[in-house]
Amino acid sequence: MYPFLHPFDRPSHYEGLFPVTNRYTFGISGEKFFRALKDDGVILGTHCPNCNKLYVPGISFCNECLLELEDWRVVENVGTVVTFTILNKNLDGSQRLDPEIVAFIQMGDGGFVHRLAEIDPKSVFIGMQVAAVIKEPEERIGSILDIRYFKPI
């Protein structure tokens, strides 16, 4: 038996990392939504006849009544800013040169968290109408970033 070591004489922590890489399929509805965005440059939603809700992005079942949804529709490219925030710092804490505007833009009964651009941050207001600026066909890869940003109408 011996006395415990002084805390300074024993290691306080052990460092390590474990790699976590994921390869995500987009799923059945995701594949449809992002295919339409990539190939046709359109935003798709699905309509639930039970609940009369238009889900954007389109999904294959209704969250509320669990009905399998088959009514895919092209959504008009008009959205409403429901809330927004202005980012002045980068993720690593350094100062941004230009502030970034992130907003939740409602389309149908759903919407997107995305960037707003072509607007002075001081002029953004809740309720303003915006439209998605979609990249050129050659630039699109089937990603949420195929929408470059939303700009005021």
Binding site: Y2, R10, S12, Y24
Partner: protein
């Protein structure tokens, strides 16, 4: 009583589906760098490993000597105050010949992980480590082994301060 269709088919994908350009998917990498607190018991364990000693803990209630050491006996739920040095020899409780690495690469010469009961600890109380300097097919349960340590300068307070165990 009508029973609906109780099985649902899925869109099963072969690996090739990810390489023929028709499937949409995305990669994501998480940043998972940790600094785990050792605590008192494992801190002592690692510090003593750097000195070339394996230590264990004895519960004064059930008289079990355990390794790695801990601050309380998990059966009696009482604090432990006695850490004691153990031997660096032991007996193989079980082992395996592993031809696959953790990231699914095939290897020719197998790694030999084993649970080794350490002399000085109670029966069936051991640690996970590897066996080396031995013909894989000569390893057997009950084999007597001894730790092979790194040199004092190389040791850093890590379970790998023991390189492996080899037959006594």
């Amino acid at each position: 009583m009508v029973t609906g269709n109780r099985y649902r088919a899925l869109n099963s994908l072969p690996e090739s589906a990810f390489h023929d350009g028709k499937l949409l998917y995305t990669f994501d990498q998480l940043n998972t760098h940790y600094a785990w607190d050792c605590g008192v018991a494992i801190g002592e364990y690692l510090a003593k490993l750097r000195e070339g000693i394996i230590i264990g803990a004895t519960c004064s209630h059930c008289h079990r000597t355990m390794v790695p050491p801990r601050l309380f006996c998990e059966y009696c739920f009482r604090p432990i105050k006695n850490f004691i040095p153990l031997q660096d020899t032991g007996t193989i409780l079980t082992f395996s010949l592993c031809y696959v690495t953790w990231d699914v690469q095939r290897i020719e010469i197998p790694e030999i992980p084993a649970v080794i009961a350490i002399d000085g600890a109670s029966e069936n109380h051991g640690i996970l480590h590897k066996i080396g300097e031995v013909d894989p097919h000569a390893v057997h349960i009950g084999m007597r082994v001894k730790a092979v340590w790194k040199t004092p300068e190389e040791r850093s307070g890590d379970i790998t301060d023991i390189l492996y165990f080899r037959p006594e």
